[in-house]
């Protein structure tokens, strides 16, 4: 055996390794591109909706799975993003938004005027939640509020936002929320081609955010984040400030939820307080748990699986589908506490 042979063998090994690693991303990529050809417009639209939720779930995976912050109020950030986008879309029609007419509002409120600008609306959708999360994080994490207390606090925030939105009918559409949107940047939202385009936008955004989040987790900062999760006091004694580390992650996850909300509105065509209260916020945490919270891919997978299960169960069993959905959650959690990704990892190493 001469020297070149050894080198070749090493090269081949490396290639096989790369192939093995690349196979999942390639498979997923192919599926995403093939989806529009495999499904009709209605199903594709639903998939786009699941992917919007997957973006929120990715943020939860980051905050909860990596950072140990159990946030039960991501709906707040999702809602801020969604309402910003909805306000922009409503102003596209010209004239006073329909619900203001019913509510007896005669002049466009000053709060609404800047949202006619799409850049402002989109920036508010992402930066608004990040700013809110930063303020909240600094306030809360500095006081060393964590665990159940943090979870309860975020949940209360979601409940409060719903009450606020419902009470301000003339400004927000109240319980109804906002619906009946027509155009997004001059594209007709009712057209299948627009919806196909939106699907790709959502998929690409999700992919980029996923890669970014993965990079973040693998960085030194990511290791610090996990260290904070597993031993916050130790990290503090080492000279780091856990509050800052957590706040940054919380803000990123909030920004993701806000962007997801902004994408959700043109895809689904409605935003209402029911979408950002306690229940939908919890549903997404459940989805992340089902997918596997310790892996970012698990969060994304969980959101898609649970979204799909909800649709499939409710269509098949209109009367008792909620029980089935609950049973699925209990089944996964008892059989595989680390979620679907935990099972996949075990299967790979076994």
């Amino acid at each position: 055996m001469n020297k070149t042979d050894v080198m070749n063998k090493a090269d081949v090994m490396k290639k096989a390794d790369v192939m093995k690693k690349a196979i999942y991303p390639i498979l997923v990529g192919l599926l995403v591109v093939a989806a529009p050809f495999l499904m009709d417009a209605f199903r594709l639209n639903l998939l786009a909706k699941y992917l919007c939720f997957a973006i929120v779930a990715l943020g939860i995976g980051l905050a909860w799975g990596q950072g140990g912050m159990l946030t039960l109020g991501q709906g707040v950030f999702f809602g801020l993003g969604g309402y910003s986008m909805a306000m922009y879309l409503k102003l596209q029609e010209g004239g006073l938004p329909d619900f203001m007419v019913w509510s007896g509002v005669e002049k466009l409120p000053a709060l609404w005027t800047p949202f006619a600008n799409p850049v402002f609306a989109l920036a508010t959708a992402i930066l608004g939640p990040m700013l809110l999360a930063t303020l909240l994080g600094l306030l809360v994490f500095r006081q060393r509020v964590r665990g159940a207390y943090f979870a309860i606090l975020t949940q209360a925030l979601a409940a409060a936002l719903v009450i606020l939105l419902v009470g301000q009918q003339g400004l927000t559409g109240g319980t109804n929320g906002m619906t009946n949107f027509y155009d997004l940047f001059a594209w007709d939202l009712a057209e299948d081609s627009t919806q196909r385009g939106l699907y790709f936008v959502v998929a690409v955004v999700l992919a980029l955010l996923y890669l970014g989040a993965r990079q973040l987790v693998r960085s030194r900062y990511g290791r610090l984040l996990v260290a904070v999760r597993d031993g916050e006091d130790r990290v503090r004694f080492l000279g780091y400030d856990p509050a800052t580390v957590k706040t940054v992650t919380f803000a990123i996850s909030a920004g993701m939820a806000g962007l997801a909300g902004a994408l959700f509105v043109p895809v689904v065509g409605i935003i209402s307080p029911a979408l950002l209260g306690v229940v939908p916020s919890l549903e997404l945490v459940v989805a992340v748990a089902v997918g596997g919270r310790y892996a970012l891919a698990g969060a994304v997978l969980g959101a898609v699986v649970m979204g799909y299960a909800k649709t499939a169960f409710s269509e098949q069993f209109a009367d008792g589908w909620l029980y089935l959905q609950g049973a699925l959650f209990i089944l996964v959690m008892t059989l595989a506490p680390k979620g679907i990704m935990g099972v996949i990892k075990r299967a790979r190493t076994a």
């Binding site: 639903l46 019913w102 619906t179 699986v305 209109a318 699925l328």
Partner: protein
Amino acid sequence: MRLSNALLATALMVAAAGCGSTGSTGSAEGGDIKVGILHSLSGTMAISEVTVRDAELLAIEEINAAGGVLGKKLVPVVEDGASDWPTFAEKATKLIRQDKVATVFGGWTSASRKAMLPVFERNKALLWYPVQYEGLEASPYIFYTGATTNQQIIPGLDYLKEQGKKKIFLVGSDYVFPRTANKIIKAYATANGMEVLGEEYTPLGHTEYSTLVNKVAQAKPDAVFNTLNGDSNVAFFKQFKSAGLTAEAMPVLSVSVAEEEVTGIGVDNIAGHPVAWNYYQTTATPANDKFVAAFKAKYGAQKVTSDPMEAGYNAVYLWAEAVKKAGTTEVEAVKKAAGGIALERPEGLVTIDGENQHMYKTARIGIIQTDGLIKEVWNSGQPIKPDPYLKGYPWASGLTAG
């Protein structure tokens, strides 16, 4: 590996459920016509909406027993709106695009209707909405079989005026129907020399009414106009009674309390108070005797029938009649044929107004009896022409501008 097998089984189950649903794609085979039924079967609205679904299924069964429509059987596809407005929009899309139903009967809350409206308009499909509502809407793709404001709220006010009630107090849940209704009531009061002493809103599902009842008691109105919805009525009427206020001294006129709700509120708490609707279980028509008997036979003798249920039941018959007249289930043809159709229904003669797709309906004021049923004490004498934008009322001209 045992774990992953179990998980795989779960995944397969999910996939199978999904395949099942896509397997039903395509239009109805052979001699069937698919129709969609979309109400909340879970969540807070389920208690009310399930009864409407039952009434609609009864109508479908009766029509099928009588030979169907155009010689074809009606096959209902039932979906759950889950008391969640976006879900209503999603399921409506599913019924139209995947199941390719000929029409959909569904909705209860205004929010669910507003969420479904764009879906039906963009897909040029047909929705039959069975509940009284706040008006100011006439979608070309919705038929409204419940009352609009001039067939319920305004007759209610006329009744109070006739009774000499000059000072009224408004109590409502905080959403679009009560707020719009109260806007109309205030305009009516101004034009008719009545005085509105107060206007209070509480969130949906609110159950603490002692403060509000105190406010009402102190204001001393001649009557209360109540647009509260759902559970809130239970708490409100209980606390109203325990504050010593009576139906004789201060009647509470409700527009969202029907036979079904009376049981939940407790007859003791609400007996003697008036309500405004277009139909009661006691309405004396031959069609109603048949409807009540059939409903009790199918769902149980203890069941009651109410206005929204009757409107849902009617919707199926009215649609079937329009299809017969059009000779097809094609939406535009059915819409065209629907105008002018008149049927003797449990509530009396119902005629479709082809212009705004609402119904001519007789307004009826009733008093809640100690047996939980409602006795009619006043009616409009003849069906009232629907006027969702209140164009025929000069005092309402400021409401619809915009």
